[in-house]
Symmetry: C2
Subunit: 213 residues, 2 copies
């Protein structure tokens, strides 16, 4: 298995957590996003979208983090990353989608760069933008998690899964931009529970071989 | 079954297509996004995220369009909306995610409004933004579809499914903003094949009871 990723990519971070939870070993191919490796023809042949992650496995080239994780969960079912009942699966996938659709893509590097140029905004406006979309998403997520008995030690019960995998990299991003986390006690509690697990901690950007300041 | 939606919402449009393909009848609850119904406490009690769609079914309140559609596909398996093999499912989910994560959320109403105010951009800059993210996403999608033998009359083989459900509302948006579609012949061809089917055509914004100019 070969993971095309980048230490700072939240989407690659998700896949690293899933691979760790499944105890699957993998080889790294580092795609340096700030240097633009993702736009080189070599990587576009792997993923024409020019985004990370991509996962080479079982003769397939898979892209998009959540579909990759669902694939891993289907092919390597233990431990399960989504519940066995359809309503539970829908809940977990929805919690993950709040991060993966409604927060993260709006704050992606390419979007922030578009705000800087051509739109010409200063770094301060870009940071307000960044925090605005995390706050908006976390406000909904916090209410959904706090109000539902299905929430346990983790987002859904007492076993970490797809929703936690999406949540943790987003909290790490929020911490990096010094977002005030006190309005989101449930998110913070779950994040801390996850980070006590090796599978999550070892996937952190700071612990990747391609990490740089 | 009750669908909380809005004629113009692409995410609600996806769920309408899925319900039609499954031949499931449903009641409509219209949430007028331009008027701000989604921020009223009545709707926030349904979906704390304040976004459409939401689907009330079998005693559950489901949110997020793709998780809703996967739920419908699991509980009402005919006709299937994702392939039966894990790699096929990963492909279809990834194609859907390109639209649902990497195009649509960046062009969502709330994001466009943020560009207008507080960021203070003119309508022309907002339209360039809108088309930029569709073009970027469609370029990757076109290459993925055109290069893969798994693509058939529809995104994956000759049966419409999850990827087509995500694609069609995005093409409808592109047409509305007069995006030049000639660089995307495969996308255009698949879109036309979908729109020949009642399930897709009847879900179009223009054909919803809450449609307005």
């Amino acid at each position: 298995m070969k993971l095309y990723g980048y230490f700072r990519s939240s989407a690659a971070f998700r896949v690293r957590i899933a691979l760790n939870l499944k105890q699957l070993s993998y080889e790294n191919a580092f795609i340096h996003l700030r240097r633009g490796d993702q736009r080189q023809s070599e990587y576009l042949a792997v993923n024409p979208q020019g985004l990370v992650p991509a996962l080479e496995t079982d003769g397939h080239l898979l892209i998009q983090s959540l579909p990759i994780i669902e694939y891993l969960d289907e092919v390597y079912p233990e431990p399960p990353l989504v519940p066995s009942d359809p309503a539970g699966r829908a809940r977990v996938r929805a919690l993950a989608a709040i991060v993966a659709c409604d927060i993260h893509p709006i704050n992606n590097l390419r979007v922030l760069r578009y705000l800087l140029r051509p739109l010409g905004h200063e770094q301060a406006a870009v940071e307000s933008w960044y925090n605005h979309w995390i706050e908006t998403g976390f406000a909904g997520l916090e209410r959904l998690l706090a109000a539902d008995k299905a929430t346990g030690r983790f987002c859904h019960g007492d076993i970490p899964g797809l929703a936690d995998i999406a949540l943790v990299p987003q909290v790490v991003n929020a911490e990096r931009y010094n977002l005030e986390m006190s309005p989101y006690p449930t998110i913070r509690r779950i994040h801390e529970a996850c980070m006590e697990l090796d599978a999550f901690a070892a996937a952190h950007p700071l612990r990747q071989p391609d990490y740089e300041e």
